[in-house]
């Protein structure tokens, strides 16, 4: 397993948000966590990125390394885990190109950056047209492309995606997931959290269902798609 999470507890000011969840991702896999608003999906991703401090008895290992020992920036630069956060968090006062260059700031394999830019622009040709535009003036779809593009340029082993479908029109959503599949084919594992359960389950190979800070179901995506409980609670009956 590339990423192994065991007994992950996270609290906000003494209030438990995650009650000891266990899950794992294999290299090259696409895994999704579905759940309602407030179930703890974003919290899970933030704990992996080390933006939130997990409780001490939690165990997180990535490629055999103890994730709990890493600062947030080192999770990206040393371990190779990128994170597309909730709300995208682009630097709106920087151009598209500057946002992407910033993502390469701490990379040690500088000789590969030019090739990665080329590859990125074949996945998202739209970004190439917009390089000198301020990120704050992009349309919603373009902003999401830039958010994913930034993650792509920063680290390549595992990509954490927080609601990539948020605010996108259905067609844009589909092309976004096509792009993510392409990134996955290049070897990046993907952990995705989504409220749009149908879309996420069609995209991922395996899935977990998170409810009130606990994982209540797991399995191959197609079996969850046909699971009556999942259908009732997350797929609109």
């Amino acid at each position: 397993m590339q990423l192994e999470i065991k007994n992950l507890h996270v609290s906000y000011d003494k209030i438990r948000a995650l009650h000891g969840i266990d899950f794992s991702i294999d290299r090259g896999e696409i895994v999704c966590i579905i759940g309602a608003n407030g179930a703890g999906k974003s919290t899970t991703l933030r704990a992996i990125s080390r933006l939130l401090q997990a409780d001490k008895d939690s165990v997180m290992t990535f490629e055999g390394k103890d994730l709990m020992q890493y600062e947030p920036d080192k999770v990206v630069s040393r371990l190779g885990i990128s994170h597309v956060p909730e709300g995208r968090r682009l630097f709106g006062n920087l151009t598209v190109m500057e946002n992407l260059q910033l993502a390469t700031f701490a990379r040690s394999d500088r000789e590969r950056i030019a090739g990665d830019f080329e590859q990125l622009f074949t996945i998202f040709p739209r970004l190439k047209e917009r390089t000198s535009q301020m990120a704050g003036t992009l349309s919603g779809g373009e902003q999401q492309m830039l958010a994913v593009g930034r993650a792509y340029m920063s680290a390549r082993k595992l990509m954490l995606l927080d609601e990539p479908s948020m605010g996108l029109a259905p067609l844009l959503m589909l092309s976004m997931f096509e792009a993510l599949k392409e990134i996955n084919r290049e070897g990046t594992s993907i952990l995705l959290v989504e409220q749009n359960a149908r879309l996420a389950l069609k995209f991922a190979q395996r899935a977990y269902v998170l409810e009130n800070g606990r994982l209540v179901l797991e399995g191959p995506s197609d079996s969850l798609l046909n699971n009556p409980e999942v259908k009732k609670a997350y797929l609109g009956g």
């Binding site: 933030r46 990125s49 933006l51 939130l52 600062e71 947030p72 920036d73 080192k74 990206v76 630069s77 990128s82 994170h83 956060p85 709300g87 968090r89 630097f91 709106g92 006062n93 920087l94 500057e98 946002n99 260059q101 910033l102 993502a103 700031f105 701490a106 990379r107 930034r150 920063s154 680290a155």
Partner: protein, 307 residues
């Protein structure tokens, strides 16, 4: 008319001091949303370090018997002093601000005040109460343009200040470190997600601000050669006013407001008795703020959501 131009020249000189110091306040605020209240005292420390460097260089030149020209020693003094003082900034960030990054705002605000007091009284304890006289490295020459008198020192002060501001602007706009600082000013919590450590950008910002304050300290020492441990307080507060007036976190605003402050003070002193200078000047600024509460170039911050 001549008198008017004369006052413009004098206003530019004072504005240079305020602008150089205000930049440091503004840069730190723009990335950490905190003001470094020790910054006026960094200016003072910079002036003292400049004194030490200049004295040492003069001594070295005398000992070795090489007749180094004064302007050359001055350039070396500015470079060395800016370099050394930048570490004062790094130190302040490390001991005063980093440990309190997640502390309540008020606690982080008073660390600057406390470090300021430590720098002032520490200086007093080490060097004593005697006032030092900044070595005059260049001859004072006065040029006359029509009825306007300009000394070479004034030209130097304004020229070096504008030059440094231009370099700072280039650095922030063109270098990858400057890019990271701009990103941090927009959304500092998203910066680590790019693999960039805030613990590298924050000290750099303190270092640059402190180096600029040190340059101001030397230039000030050339114009007003008497140094004392409390020289940074009033000047620091006034530069802080300029930083706010310019728009919190705006680099351009801080520089322009610094010059505006210089002009207002000089022109007030032209019309009114000089004892009333600050009373009237700062009443005017208060009035400006009443009409522009966000200053001139208040930077639009993102909502700074918590990650």
């Amino acid at each position: 008319m001549d008198l008017f131009l004369q006052n413009i020249v004098n206003g530019l000189q004072w504005g240079s001091f305020y602008a150089l110091i205000a930049l440091g306040y503004s840069m730190v605020y723009s990335i950490l949303m905190l003001f470094n209240f020790a910054h006026g005292d960094v200016f003072m420390v910079g002036s003292y370090i400049g004194f030490g460097v200049a004295t040492a260089l003069l001594g070295l030149a005398a000992m070795s018997g090489i007749p180094l020209p004064g302007w050359f020693i001055l350039i070396l003094t500015i470079i060395f002093t800016m370099f050394i003082t930048s570490f004062v900034g790094v130190f302040i960030e490390r001991v005063g601000y980093r440990p309190l990054r997640d502390a309540p705002r008020a606690s982080a605000a008073i660390t600057g005040l406390m470090i300021g007091i430590i720098l002032e009284t520490g200086n007093l304890a080490i060097l004593g109460a005697r006032r030092l006289s900044f070595p005059q490295l260049i001859e004072s020459t006065t040029y006359q343009f029509g009825g306007v008198y300009v000394t070479d020192k004034k030209i130097l002060i304004v020229g070096v200040s504008l030059g440094l501001m231009f370099l700072l602007h280039r650095f922030i706009q063109k270098s990858k470190w400057g890019m990271a600082m701009r990103a941090m000013s927009f959304d500092f919590q998203a910066v680590p997600l790019m693999g960039i450590s805030i613990n590298r950008i924050a000290p750099l910002t303190f270092a640059i601000g402190s180096a600029l304050a040190a340059a101001a300290g030397i230039l000030y020492g050339l114009a007003y050669p008497v140094l004392d441990p409390y020289m940074g307080i009033l000047l620091g507060w006034k530069a802080f006013v300029a930083a706010i007036l310019g728009g919190r976190g705006s680099i351009l605003g801080a520089a322009l407001a610094g010059f505006l402050l210089g002009f207002i003070e000089i022109f007030v002193a032209w019309v009114f008795p000089s004892t009333l200078r600050d009373v009237i000047a700062y009443s005017i600024i208060l009035l400006i703020l009443t009409f522009r509460p966000h200053g001139f170039f208040g930077q639009a911050h993102s909502t700074q959501l918590r990650l």
